[in-house]
């Protein structure tokens, strides 16, 4: 019985069962009709359902039996060619593994919905306005200028609370802030840095996340209420031993007594994939937890500080537009109260965005980097497919005689096809399974590269999800079809006449046309992959060699956060002077200076610049940084003119600032900047006087064109921002001649000797900070380089394998030619020519593909054009080298052919 009818019958197994039942009923009826008592007839028939079952089983068992036979046969075939089998499985493992790895990352970072019920109903609320809304002091979170309008995501606490109460379009409107670092102490022991997220009282109920213990109540979200917290499952297991009695326990957050009321569920990380909050607290607790800046500070929420993002669960059946239309008037009413604006155009307007995946985990650049990697591994998988197809095809040709004989002996073509399909299926299953394992390991490795150092902002949940499993199964199946189809058809199509007639030579040459084409396609794909890898590597190299304007080696930053230990602004200067002196005393330390923003750390401050007598343009911006004395010596920034900071500058009313040459060129093009005055707002355009000019530096990133930088003296004041250093951590830049590990250890000890309650909160070398901001570039460079090398290796194996096979098939021909006087070098040249023709065809195919790929890469390239001669030349050279290397063994094999033996085999 053929495969198809079996398949058909399996599909209609119910009808088959009915047929058997009818047949048995007929048997019974006939027995009765022939005069037997019905009861006796039934007894004679026996257990009907058992007979039915056994009869049905006949078909399935027979099929399984013959499949098992095919599996055993396939297994024997594989064992007969262990090298080939190993090469095939290894290629598949690499191809599928790489795809699984990148897909797991893509899935975890970009595709996976939030781990909450019915995530597709979630919407994120943002707003746009005609320029920065007047009256606001601060806007947290992402702010962009899109289509000429200012766009932001955060609102004030008052706006959020009233909007959440008054709106009706969402089942719940939830508010939350971006996680902030906080000091958490479990008992009298020293505090530990945790990630704290302020959330609205309805956060967990609104997202339908079940809390162990108590979710927040509305009364918890009031200024002055007893501070309460919910800890993440990770923190609960890791720090509280998963002890249920932790609920109700008293802890201290930023030195404020707080009670734990609940534990979040295991997979819940908040609304920002990749960022895991350790502790959640009600929005109003922000007032209580804020480090005391001055004892007499008024305690209350500042409505001009917009820091709360909103996400809502849309009511079923409502469109986004309907929700926006319902909420917008309420929102605008509330917003205009705060901004005091009456101009229609200057009142923020709501935007409703999809929120199923929460906040975007990656920047657009990182997202495109992941997609590029996905494209690269897809190319790699295609190379694997052609490689495996070629290897199997050559074997199928070799097995054609066997197939032809089996056909002649009466085996069905479909049966032969099934034999091949089962073998390919076996290969795909083994390759897929080992690919999955490799992918799992690779994904974690790449993830570790992503998540450099203590920076856990890209910490994704990489548990093998059903989606990843489906993806792997899907790619293994697709791969099997791609690599298996041609060999299977070739195997089943064997024509006895042709094959037996052809014996072991001749005709075969033309049969290799398909394999030759595949090898060329493979070379083309490989070229595209290595051109991409070469471009990314060149780009990484270029950006790593950028002159940053200061001495990046032997420079480290030691950070402390005295605010968290309860220091007030009044006590800060004395502490910091002592800390700096202790650090400077460490043997090997050359120079120490405090500063607010660590250079090239990815973050920083910028402000608009106003120069008296100059028309202010929207682009008049400068980055600024507060630095202590000796900062320029410590960082290695040359002083070009004027003077550096002196202790006398360290006071709130100081007017002295130092600017870089770019600032001088930009704002004082025709005169000496020394003595020049400017301000950061229109109200006070003569606030600062330039006392010195230093060399240009890159400020917080290397990709964008550097902006002008203003240096202000480092002092401590009660208000954050331009007025003075904020209540964030204090960073000491340390230039030292000793290695980083030693320095970190010595610095920790030095700081402990100043005040044990203020531990070193961070230690970073400048090179590590630079590595971190170049994370995407490095990731792309390394991984695409690794994949490019893999692609080259695979192509080498593919080419070499093909040529070996071609030489083996042509042993007789070569023998005859050598007998007729061809020299070894001629034979070698022929093999080489054959390889180069294939590579040449591949290059012709690959160049346009490479160009398309390079164009897609454009956004990732730093000062490198998509058509980069060096990258293309490098890729071509690599390919040629691989081709020649792949030809070596087959060529030697061909040259070693002994004419006598070759001819005797005839």
């Amino acid at each position: 019985m053929s495969f198809w009818s079996r398949l058909q019958r399996t599909a209609s197994s119910r009808r088959h069962a009915e047929e058997i039942r009818d047949e048995l009923q007929f048997h019974l009826d006939m027995d009765v009709a022939s005069g037997r008592d019905p009861r006796e007839a039934r007894i004679r028939l026996g257990n009907r359902s058992r007979i039915e079952e056994e009869t049905r089983a006949v078909g399935i068992v027979a099929w399984i039996e013959s499949c098992a036979q095919d599996v055993r046969y396939g297994w024997r075939q594989m064992r007969r060619a262990p090298v080939l089998t190993l090469a095939v499985l290894l290629s598949l493992t690499i191809g599928i593994g790489a795809n699984t790895a990148i897909f797991s990352l893509l899935d975890a970072a970009i595709l996976k919905p939030l781990p909450v019920p019915d995530a597709k109903q979630l919407r994120i609320l943002e707003w746009t306005n005609d320029g920065y809304p007047p009256g606001l002091e601060n806007i947290n979170g992402d702010t962009t200028i899109a289509a000429g309008r200012f766009r932001a995501s955060s609102v004030g606490a008052n706006v959020y609370r009233r909007l959440a109460r008054q709106q009706t379009a969402f089942d719940a409107l939830v508010g939350f802030a971006d996680p902030v670092p906080a000091a958490l102490a479990l008992d009298s022991s020293s505090a530990e840095q945790v990630s704290l997220q302020y959330v609205s009282a309805n956060f967990f109920q609104g997202l339908e996340v079940a809390i162990l213990g108590q979710p927040f109540r509305d009364e918890d979200d009031r200024v002055g209420a007893e501070p309460v917290a919910i800890v993440s499952n990770r923190y609960w297991i890791g720090r509280l031993g998963g002890d249920p009695s932790a609920i109700g326990r008293a802890i201290r957050i930023n030195n404020v007594p707080t009670r734990i009321v609940g534990v979040a569920p295991p997979q819940f990380f908040g609304v920002h994939p990749g960022q895991w909050s350790d502790v959640y607290a009600p929005l109003a607790a922000r007032v209580a937890f804020r480090p005391t800046e001055r004892a007499a500070d008024a305690r209350g929420e500042n409505d001009r500080d917009w820091w709360i993002r909103q996400i809502g669960r849309l009511k079923p059946g409502l469109t986004d537009e309907a929700a926006r239309a319902a909420l917008d008037p309420i929102f605008r009413g509330l917003a205009s109260e705060t901004t005091g604006s009456v101009d229609e155009k200057k009142i923020p307007a709501l935007v409703v965005e999809p929120g199923a995946r929460g906040l975007a985990a990656l920047t657009p650049r990182d997202t495109s980097a992941l997609w590029i990697l996905m494209a690269l591994v897809t190319v790699l998988l295609f190379i694997v497919c052609t490689n495996v197809a070629n290897l199997l095809l050559s074997r199928a040709v070799a097995r054609q005689r066997e197939s032809a004989v089996r056909l002649a002996l009466g085996a069905g073509r479909l049966r032969l096809l099934r034999q091949h399909a089962i073998e390919i299926g076996m290969i795909a299953i083994v390759g897929g399974a080992s690919g999955l394992a490799l992918g799992y390991v690779l994904a974690h490795g790449i993830h570790a590269l992503f998540e450099t150092g203590r920076d856990a902002s890209y910490s994704f949940d990489l548990h093998l999800s059903a989606r990843v499993l489906w993806f792997t199964a899907g790619s293994a199946t697709l791969t099997a079809i791609l690599f298996g189809l041609a060999p299977a058809i070739r195997g089943a199509r064997a024509d006895l006449h042709d094959v037996l007639k052809a014996q072991s030579r001749g005709i075969v040459g033309s049969r290799l046309r398909g394999a030759r084409l595949l090898a060329s396609v493979q070379v083309g794909l490989c070229l595209a992959a290595i051109v991409a890898a070469a471009l990314l590597a060149r780009s990484l190299q270029t950006i790593e060699r950028v002159d940053v304007g200061f001495d990046r080696d032997n420079l480290a930053y030691v950070s402390v956060n005295p605010w968290q230990a309860g220091y007030t602004a009044e006590r800060m200067p004395a502490y910091l002077d002592r800390a700096r002196d202790e650090l400077a005393r460490i043997p090997g330390v050359v120079q120490v200076a405090p500063l607010e923003v660590r250079l090239l750390s990815g973050s920083g401050n910028a402000a608009g610049v106003v120069v008296p007598g100059r028309v202010t343009r929207p682009s008049d911006h400068a980055n600024f940084n507060h630095v202590g004395e000796h900062a320029f010596e410590t960082l290695g920034i040359p002083l070009v003119a004027g003077r550096a900071f002196e202790p006398a500058d360290r006071q709130p009313n100081s007017q002295a600032v130092i600017v870089d040459e770019r600032f001088a060129r930009l704002f004082f093009p025709d005169r000496s900047p020394l003595g020049g005055r400017f301000g950061f707002n229109q109200k006070d355009p003569e606030r600062y006087e330039i006392v010195g000019v230093v060399g240009d530096t890159f400020y917080n990133n290397l990709r964008n064109a550097p902006q002008a930088v203003v240096f202000l003296p480092y002092y401590w004041s009660s208000t954050a921002g331009i007025g003075g250093a904020s209540t964030g951590p204090v960073n000491f830049a340390v230039r030292a001649r000793i290695d980083a590990g030693q320095l970190a250890q010595a610095a920790r000890a030095a700081l402990a000797s100043v005040d044990p309650a203020v531990p070193m909160s961070d230690f970073q070398t400048q090179t590590h900070l630079i590595d971190r901001i170049l994370r995407t570039e490095r990731l792309l460079g390394f991984i695409s380089g690794a994949f490019g090398l893999l692609a080259l290796t695979l192509v080498g194996i593919g080419l070499g394998g093909f040529l070996m096979y071609a030489v083996a098939r042509r042993t007789n021909e070569i023998g005859i030619r050598m007998a007729l006087g061809a020299t070894r070098s001629v034979v070698i040249r022929d093999v080489l020519t054959e390889a180069l023709v294939m590579v040449g065809a591949g290059v012709a195919l690959g160049l346009p593909t490479a160009y398309a790929m390079a164009t897609a890469l454009r956004s990732q390239l730093f000062e490198i054009q998509p058509v980069d001669p060096l990258a293309i030349a490098g890729a071509l050279a690599g390919l040629m080298l691989t081709a020649v290397a792949a030809t070596l063994i087959p060529a030697r094999r061909a040259a070693a052919v002994d004419p006598l033996i070759a001819l005797r085999a005839e």
Partner: protein, 115 residues
């Protein structure tokens, strides 16, 4: 008889005997299961009683193996019944098996005579 036994069956044990009897019965023309059982019983003078529990799995297995062909046809009594007929492959198999059986039977007989 377990499922496995059906499948491990070789033509030279009892299972094979039933196959030969069925094929022999069918070489005289297509028949449904009940008629096959009745005919075997009859022609063996009631010595061989074919159980439905052995017969139907055997019929289906032989159909799978391509020895028999099954079709639904209206029986003499005017009801739809599943008729089995011998395929050419079945016919060849019958010839082989018959020959084998005669040899085995003769051999057994010789052993019994001399012992």
């Amino acid at each position: 008889m377990s499922i496995l036994d059906i499948y491990m069956a070789k033509p030279d044990n009892l299972q094979g005997a039933l196959d030969v009897l069925v094929m022999k019965t069918l070489c005289r023309g297509a028949q449904h299961g009940f008629a096959i059982a009745a005919e075997i019983q009859q022609s063996s003078d009631d010595v061989l009683k074919v159980e439905a529990g052995s017969l139907y799995p055997a019929l289906h297995r032989m159909t799978e193996a391509g020895l028999l062909k099954a079709v639904w046809r209206t029986s003499t009594a005017g009801r739809k019944a599943r008729y089995y007929e011998l395929t050419s492959k079945g016919r060849r198999r019958l010839t082989e098996s018959e020959k084998r059986w005669h040899e085995v039977a003769a051999a057994v007989a010789r052993v019994l005579r001399t012992a």
